[in-house]
Symmetry: C2
Subunit: 265 residues, 2 copies
């Protein structure tokens, strides 16, 4: 099995096999949290990896043996961030891959950085998001657009919004929800962006509680007009937005929603 496990202290001195993950970004990943030996929402991360493997035609990916391997390694881990990267091995030159190609798996633990998560200030990134209807939604390894959007974030803000012209898709490391005229909306991700696990959980919980949630195209004007907003990811959960560009936003509506959904990260 081509599994490599890197503990917190290994992160800067780790070696991996030279493969198509490095050469072309040919692979996928997920990022979550370990708490007292438990992988938070493990089944959702496992399902995401299975769906990504199917999408990117990783025929040899075996999620069961992978998660058995992970469990053996995290039993004694108190609190850490875990990233699981699955990449395609390389046995011939060129872009096209062989159907039977093996996969490499790289599991990295790292310390959780302390981010102030009670509120988040947003701005519109200049870096455009990469558009590809085939790849949209999948957490694959082609993330240069996120890299350069995240690089735009200075000390005065915590996150930026990535757009296709006037269409708002997501944050650099989060998904977006806004409340407009009493209705919660979140951008559709059929052209670009990543379908986050927390996004999926929030949508599911809202539907269970009969709270209306629309998944549709959202433009900058609507984002500027919204009455409340929050962004989500697996490390922070629901992150209330207190400002978009120069417009302050109250976070009560988000705090109430979190209560109503009985939401914990």
């Amino acid at each position: 099995l081509n599994y490599q496990f890197f503990d917190i202290y290994d992160i800067n001195q780790a070696n991996i096999q030279l493969d198509r993950g490095y050469l072309f970004g040919d692979g996928f990943y997920t990022t979550g949290i370990i708490n007292n030996g438990v992988f938070e929402h493990q089944i959702l991360h496992q399902n995401r990896l299975i769906a990504s493997a199917a999408k990117l035609q990783f025929g040899s990916f075996d999620s069961k043996s992978l998660f058995d391997f992970i469990q053996q390694n995290i039993n004694s881990v108190k609190h850490a961030c875990i990233r699981i990267t699955v990449s395609r091995a390389q046995s011939k030159r060129g872009y096209a891959f062989l159907d039977e190609e093996e996969c490499n798996v790289c599991i990295q633990l790292s310390n959780l950085t302390n981010v102030a998560t009670n509120y988040c200030e947003l701005f519109f990134a200049n870096t455009p998001i990469s558009i590809n209807p085939f790849l949209a939604g999948t957490k694959h390894l082609n993330r240069l657009d996120n890299v350069f959007a995240a690089k735009e974030i200075k000390n005065s803000s915590q996150e930026c919004l990535m757009c296709i012209d006037e269409l708002v898709i997501c944050g650099s490391k989060t998904n977006l929800f806004i409340n407009l005229d009493g209705t919660w909306l979140t951008p559709s991700l059929n052209k670009a962006g990543i379908e986050g696990i927390t996004r999926q959980r929030v949508i599911g919980l809202m539907q269970e509680q009969n709270i209306k949630i629309e998944i549709r195209d959202i433009n900058k004007i609507e984002v500027n007009q919204c009455d409340a907003a929050f962004v989500t990811n697996s490390l922070i959960g629901i992150w209330p937005v207190s400002k978009i560009e120069n417009k302050p936003l109250a976070t009560e509506m988000t705090d109430n929603l979190k209560c109503l959904l009985n939401f914990e990260r």
Copy 2:
């Protein structure tokens, strides 16, 4: 210096440092040919790497020391394909990078595969090309769209054309030139695609010879109506197109152009 050199026989057993190249596709590359110890069109490859480093903000990239290192290693190489990959090291978690981050360089030699290069049959790929005006033109490591387009190529064709809806941008591993009503055209690459070294050379040689060449948007209808076409890359040079979808094309116009330009790979 973080240089790693892999000879032809190492290709399947090479190890590299786990870095942002693998994690996010945060890096760039070039692919060329070594002939009797000489790197063909080395200065163009070197300039491409310098331009990519500037674009992707690799402040610590030093092309002079890299090419000195390469020359020492290729003196006795008869005939090989060379790929040079430059990726960003990782010293903290997350998408954003540090300005002073080091770079890793991976140099791989491989055997040149024998492809029939006297003609090429093309079709329109179903896989959409990734659109990003900021990244367009650069040979960066986010190449999943090329991977899945190349995977569509079956034995009956040698290359496919990647499109944005009706707009034709390039081949999966080549740039495109067509002749329409007596004028040579090549697609502009301001939304997607890679500015190939051979494309650049061909455009330059045509301009020197006062042969009209237009760089502009080209749609599928124009490609279907063209009188001649060729595709280009560093490994093959000028590759005459003998068929697009079901329409046969004569290759004489391309053969004549090659003669006129005194073009050698």
